[in-house]
């Protein structure tokens, strides 16, 4: 700490010797006390105090002390505290000037008794209990968020919600247009896989033409919406959580609140609108590309023409199937917006917390998508849609 430059010379061995003289303990410190050379630690010095027994003063002699750094100060600090606790006087005149000043500096701020934390290790039951309580709290938080979003949507309808039109356009572009390449690829391949599996099975019964029905119904009613939903959960849901989480850490959200602008209206609403508008559009697009993928497989593997394929597909899906698919897409869009924005706004205060918020946003989106997919399928079946 004090000495600089390249220390080419080997270090002299660090030593400390105790001498008691009329009730005064003098510690003679010599050699080089450098971290690199492992000098005597705090235990060695504290042991000397204990061995010395009854003394009324502790002093130092550092005439033969060479180079030193924090390796000297750490044990001296421990010694200083022990000596003061025992009510023995400490005479630091013998220490080098720099060491004396640093020790005094470290001692100026006393440790407040309520500061230090005890690390607690809970047993398994306590941990399960805490996890349950946290899950319940998260559920309540989600419900509260949905409620607030409904109010916010109400303000949107009555035209009292404040947000930037520019933001909305940006989010429409980011969630919609920018997602086209990945949606194209996934939807096309899903159609191809559907058709391939269908061809393999249906050909055995000479019912190859029904591949068109399989692909059309599968894509339009279920897969287009689900695949698009999962893609947008990973793309936009995660992005929203990270954006809002970072804004929370930077106190940008508090800044909006103090201005009387609702973060719900200003930040969540444009994102939710973008997702709710773009999910159905992307789903229609995905369904069409899925049909194209199916057509490519059917035409190459079966002895049918494009016209036959299209006619067959057209007869398989009615308007109700299209609406069934679009409604699902809309619901998934809401789910993704809720998960992404809620996790972002509930983000903690560290860089790690932003990562966790992003992860939870995606996991929660996918979970909610699957749950609502099942629920809607049951409802459709009951009502015969």
């Amino acid at each position: 700490m004090t000495q600089h430059g390249e220390n080419e010379t080997p270090a002299d061995e660090a030593r400390v010797e105790a001498r008691i003289d009329g009730g005064k303990l003098t510690l003679t410190i010599s050699g080089d006390w450098l971290l690199a050379s492992q000098p005597p630690g705090r235990e060695a010095l504290l042991a000397m105090i204990r061995e010395a027994g009854d003394v009324h003063e502790v002093g130092f002699s550092c005439d033969r002390l060479g180079r030193w750094d924090a390796a000297l100060l750490v044990p001296l600090q421990a010694l200083q505290e022990a000596v003061q606790q025992a009510g023995v006087q400490l005479d630091d005149d013998g220490l080098p000037e720099g060491a004396r000043r640093l020790l005094r500096l470290a001692a100026t701020v006393r440790e407040r008794s309520d500061v230090r934390r005890v690390r607690e290790h809970d047993n398994i039951i306590v941990r399960i209990g805490n996890a349950t309580l946290e899950a319940l709290a998260a559920g309540r938080e989600l419900a509260r968020f949905m409620g607030e979003l409904s109010f916010s949507a109400g303000r949107l309808v009555t035209g009292r919600a404040v947000f930037e039109r520019r933001d909305l356009l940006l989010f429409l572009e980011q969630t919609g247009a920018n997602a086209l390449p990945i949606v194209s690829l996934i939807a096309f391949l899903t159609g191809v896989i559907f058709a391939f599996v269908g061809v393999m099975q249906l050909q055995r019964f000479g019912a190859g033409i029904y591949v068109a029905d399989l692909v059309a119904i599968g894509m339009v009613r279920e897969m287009a919406a689900i695949m698009t939903g999962i893609i947008l959960a990973g793309r936009s849901g995660a992005a929203f959580a990270a954006q809002l989480g970072t804004m929370k850490i930077n106190e940008e959200i508090d800044a909006l609140r103090t201005l009387g602008i609702s973060p719900m209206d200003y930040l969540v609403l444009p994102r939710a609108i973008a997702l709710v508008l773009m999910m159905p559009l992307l789903t229609i697009y995905a369904a069409l590309l899925g049909l194209v993928g199916g057509a490519v497989v059917s035409i190459t593997m079966l002895d049918i023409s494009l016209v036959q394929y299209l006619a067959q597909a057209r007869s398989a899906v009615g308007l109700n199937s299209v609406f069934a698919g679009l409604l699902k897409a809309l619901v998934y869009g809401v789910m993704i917006a809720i998960s992404g924005c809620q996790q972002g706004l509930a983000c903690g205060g560290s860089a790690m917390a932003v990562g966790q918020a992003t992860t939870s946003a995606v996991v929660m989106s996918v979970l909610l998508i699957v749950i609502s997919a099942s629920a809607l399928t049951v409802i459709y079946t009951v009502f015969g849609i």
Partner: protein, 261 residues
Amino acid sequence: MNDEGTAHIEVRDLALAYGDRVVQEGLNFSIARGEVFIIMGGSGCGKSSLMKAMTGLLRPSAGDVWYEGQPYWAGDEQQRQEIRQRCGVLFQSGALWSSLTLAENVALPMRHRTRLSEAQIEELCAWRLALVGLRGFEDYYPNELSGGMRKRAGLARAMALDPEILYFDEPSAGLDPVSARLLDDLILELSASLGTTIVVVTHDLASIFAIAGRALYLDAGSRTQLALGEPAALREHCEHAAVRAFLSREATVPADAGETG
């Protein structure tokens, strides 16, 4: 151990630019071992960029920074690494790693750059946090602390490797006058007892007069250094009206410091 004649840090013909936009050029000064040196100037004059060039974060467009006769930017990566290890930097808002506790923040440089044992590292963390007045806060996370405490924790981390040179970026920014004053005192105390060379970037006049040995004034208009010397002397006798105005907090824009683009 080293001859006092060579400067600890020497900046020669340094120019800083972002793309085509020149921020500062023709910078020449040297800093002696153990000196408390201030880089001052108005907002946007390039003082933080200068510090970045000195700490290895921004490659200058011309010139070099010499550490004990060794050029930083002209050296290879290993030499640069060696020089960087001798410097500690306190960033403006502390720049503590938010997902680590204070003790872990201070321990990280020691874990990766020294061969100390875990027990030694733990003791050293406690010692360094005690030095900056944060005894007992080892297990706290940065977002649980006030701005002043975060800054002091950042200082403990900057000192983790026993640097010969400590850089401070706007140490008093965001602190109340009392906390700023305490931090200034701490800087002076560390410089006096450790012999550390200290370079401070600031526009805070109270700090400048309290801690500076010498101060360098960077001018935004002429994009170069205007004056170098003791702040009190510069305030009274500097030939440039801009420097006198800056140091005496006058609002007039002197003729020789106008925005020349």
